[in-house]
Symmetry: C2
Subunit: 211 residues, 2 copies
């Protein structure tokens, strides 16, 4: 049996996504914490694992994998019947589009190093919260509109969780952290609630990963 | 035969990626220009096609598809034997990771609306160039390190173009536009040159799309 090792940070959205996928699959894994606030991601030993200096990285099946969504696609392909992606090409396209609406259009813009640079440029610590509210808010608003679609159900796509939900939940966690009012995004909020009621999502939560 | 329609903007990296894929497949398509500078992406008619108000969108096979990489994955699945993604799960994981190193970790941070907001916050037009140089530069540096890998060849993965190259080339086009010196990224520059010599990449280039 291969030992699975997740290099991640408890509060990182990208790490959170991969934890959800691993928990959904019921895979046991060891965690190696990479403390972003202590710059552990810039340590030469970690850069040999992840040349980008990002979290997460996953050691599995004799590979070291990087990039959360590329990891989830790998898990979806190598552990089939998991439903992370739908059965049809159009369905998969839709789930990927919803995933990227978060993972490309919101999350990178609100990443620690980007927002810290904005604070540096403006010289105002308050710029951090304003930035988060603006870009998470507009991103979730766009996602809310995308979810007004017949393919949406109890979850982002149909009635079982997919990769899109693995992206939505960490983003909603972040939105709440920055005090963003979710009542204006009822579909997003409802799907997050449905996910958060599931044991796999609970086990993957930052509060559980922090311990 | 289904008519294929690409809604895009000549200078948009995401539109450029999809043009490369369509050209690589030899698919004929009609272009509907969405002029971002004239806010055509915020027109209610376009928002019905793309609720996020982003380019590109692709009308194909009776679907309207959004999100450039989700479109490319769809084309890869429905027009097989194209080599956009490798034959193995580990290979596909690698190509996706390289793609996301550009499409998630560089491109969104340098998007028009983000950088315009930085200019607004700082009140300095010069902040635009500084931002581009910083984030494109550090992103290409990370990509350069990732490409120091036995799976890299004439192209990002092996000796035929994949989705990763469709992401790399528009980012290099942008880097040059902002005056970023590519000699410090020799692998990136070499791969971009190999791509740019191919007819499909030439046909997809912004200068060709602008006409």
């Amino acid at each position: 049996m291969t030992e699975i090792v997740l290099y991640g940070y408890w509060r990182s959205s990208a790490s959170f996504r991969v934890r959800i996928a691993l928990q959904m699959l019921g895979l046991a894994y060891e965690t190696v914490p990479i403390d972003l606030l202590a710059s552990a991601h810039k340590d030469p030993n970690y850069l040999r694992i992840n040349p980008q200096g990002l979290v997460p990285s996953l050691r599995i099946d004799g590979h070291i994998l990087t990039q959360s969504l590329a990891i989830i696609e790998y898990l979806a392909e190598t552990r089939p019947e998991n439903g992370f992606l739908p059965d049809t090409a159009a369905g998969r396209q839709r789930v990927r589009a919803l995933s990227y609406a978060v993972a490309m259009d919101v999350h990178p813009i609100c990443n620690l190093n980007v927002v810290s640079h904005v604070v540096h440029l403006t010289g105002e610590e308050g710029a951090r919260t304003e930035w988060m509210i603006k870009f998470i808010g507009s991103g979730l608003q766009a996602l809310e509109k995308m979810l007004d679609d017949p393919t949406s159900g109890r979850f982002c796509f149909g009635d079982t969780p997919t990769m899109a939900d693995f992206c939505l939940v960490p983003q909603v966690y972040n939105a709440r952290r920055w005090g963003i009012e979710l009542s204006t995004f009822p579909r997003v909020a409802r799907i997050a609630d449905a996910c958060n009621a599931m044991p796999a999502f609970k086990a993957a939560h930052p509060d559980a990963a922090k311990r």
